[in-house]
């Protein structure tokens, strides 16, 4: 029996481990499938991490090392090259590694910190062939930054999420020519600073409301046809334009990696794709917690660490005997607010609610409703789907509430 098993040794898993240790738990084990700790940060060699958490600008590997160093100093055990195959509701973990073969661990508590994966190109509806030269932006990032191998010379990027933007700059710096970044939506899913420093700095055009409608080439990509889309996101034939290129990068979004959560019978949120959790990040299965991108996709790793600390501390309390509260108040949304994390609260204490909105809205009032009555409002000049928002709901509002709801009142577009 192990007190706490953490699945995933990326930023979420390491932060959770350190927080649990600092809350008095010693019998901890981190299981990581890669050959290093650090997760996706290992390949995120650009900077901009840690401003919130450490007050300085770090690259991904440096941010990861801050936590790995802690894990090593505290002597928290971890197993690398270890793949978790299954988790049961009563917290039996089945894993495999080349050293130990298949083995099982019974845990008092589990923290899920497996991160997310990229949406695949299979999910896309693009006509034409499927030659070599089509990569997800994250795969290309791994090739360039971990293996030192350039996937192509003339590049078109579909999707303007942050990884796509970062890769536009990265490949340009390494000598490639990035012809365009196409975005289906009328706004970019990436941070404004990345549009500035990754595209504008290198005169790479960002084509909004535009998509790739056809891929050309037999063995290798020879070009793509792009087209503008109308309000209903249907391509407009007259706007078709051929761009010769040898590489198409897809940066079309991330989804939580939740195969294991499903096998444990954890209920998932239809919108986030991650588990439904309470304020302690405890899932619907007692003793199983979740944090980081496996729960919902974050734009800043600083918030991943923050959330993982909550999960680490709560798991420690649970191991020491704390039980989840039995009355749970749901936090519902009005659609303009797409989702919240946590989705429910089970204790009468203040809670930081993370949420995302469905569209770009200007001059909004974020409203908290308690049993249908507006009880708290906060104004914001602009909100966008690409930027996660947070709001603190006070104890006085939560105490005695039967239902909480988060909504937006919009006075401009």
């Amino acid at each position: 029996m192990t007190d706490l098993v953490i699945i995933g040794g990326g930023p979420a898993g390491m932060s959770a481990a350190v927080a649990a240790y600092e809350s008095g738990i010693r019998d901890i084990l981190i299981l990581e499938r890669d050959e290093n700790l650090g997760g996706i940060l290992q390949q995120c060699i650009h900077n901009g991490f840690g401003l919130h958490k450490f007050g300085e600008e770090l690259t991904g590997p440096e941010y990861a090392w801050r936590y790995e160093k802690k894990v090593r100093e505290l002597g928290i055990p971890f197993k690398l090259n270890t793949m978790v195959l299954d988790i049961t509701e009563d917290r039996v973990i089945t894993a495999t590694s080349s050293e130990e073969g298949v083995f099982q661990i019974q845990a008092k508590a589990i923290i899920l910190a497996m991160g997310c994966r990229e949406r695949s190109k299979g999910a896309l509806n693009i006509a034409g062939t499927r030659p070599a030269g089509i990569y997800s932006a994250g795969t290309a990032q791994k090739y360039v930054n971990r293996k030192g191998y350039m996937p192509g010379k003339n590049v078109v990027i579909l999707g303007s999420g942050d990884i796509g933007l970062i890769m536009a700059r990265r490949m340009t710096l390494e000598g490639a020519s990035v012809k365009a970044v196409c975005e289906l939506m009328p706004y970019s899913g990436g941070l404004a600073r990345n549009i500035e420093q990754c595209l504008h700095d290198f005169n790479i055009p960002l084509k909004l409301s535009t998509t790739v409608v056809e891929i050309h080439g037999k063995d290798r990509v020879t070009g793509v046809t792009i087209a503008a889309v109308d309000e209903r996101r249907r391509p407009i034939p007259e706007t078709r334009e051929y761009i010769p290129c040898d590489t198409l990068l897809l940066s079309v979004g991330l989804i939580p990696e939740n195969e294991l959560s499903k096998s444990a019978g954890i209920s998932l949120d239809r919108i986030t794709g991650g588990a439904e959790v309470d304020q302690d990040r405890q899932t619907s299965v007692e003793g199983i917690f979740a944090c980081g991108n496996v729960l919902h996709v974050h734009d800043l790793v600083d918030y991943v660490s923050e959330e993982a600390e909550i999960a680490g501390r709560s798991a420690a309390e649970y191991i020491k005997g704390a039980k989840p509260g039995d009355e749970s108040v749901r936090i519902t949304t009005d659609g303009k607010v797409r989702y919240t994390v946590p989705q429910r609260v089970t204790a009468d204490k203040a809670v930081n609610v993370y949420f995302r909105v469905a569209d770009v809205y200007k001059n909004v009032t974020i409203q908290v409703y308690r049993d249908g009555e507006p009880v708290y409002a906060k104004k914001k000049a602009r909100v966008a789907p690409g930027e996660m928002e947070t709001l603190r709901i006070g104890e006085d509002i939560i105490k005695g509430a039967k239902e909480l709801k988060l909504g937006l009142e919009v006075s401009g577009q």
Partner: protein, 118 residues
């Protein structure tokens, strides 16, 4: 003359408007904090960027690196050439200088080489 900028100092990405008279900055508006004002001034007079990249070590290993301070924006490609021509020896620890005196900065490792941890 007016110039509109997006501040890249932090993820807030504030829209900043700078009023210029030739190379003289007359006013900066739209920034949420002091760092934004400083960024806007520099961006209009001497724009700088931190370069992050990777270097191939002598043993073939790939290590991530960065300039330890921002360098003039128009020197980024030249800086990349220097980094791509370097072949440092392992072991390398985070913070080790890979190239010194590169347009007013040092290129330092942001990752340990594999041998370092074991």
């Amino acid at each position: 003359m007016k110039r509109n900028l997006t501040c890249i100092v932090c993820p807030m990405g504030c829209s900043i408007e700078v009023e210029l008279d030739g190379a003289n900055v007359l006013s900066v508006t739209g920034n949420t904090c002091k760092r934004g004002a400083e960024y806007a001034k520099n961006e209009c007079t001497n724009p700088k960027r931190t370069v992050t990249s990777t270097v191939r070590c002598e043993n073939g290993e790939i290590i991530s690196v960065k300039t330890d301070r921002a360098i003039p924006k128009d020197k980024m490609q030249e800086c990349m050439k220097l980094i791509n021509n370097a072949r440092p020896c392992t072991p390398i620890a985070i913070g080790d200088i890979i190239l010194s005196d590169v347009f007013g900065s040092n290129v330092v490792a942001t990752q340990h080489s594999a041998a370092h941890n074991s």
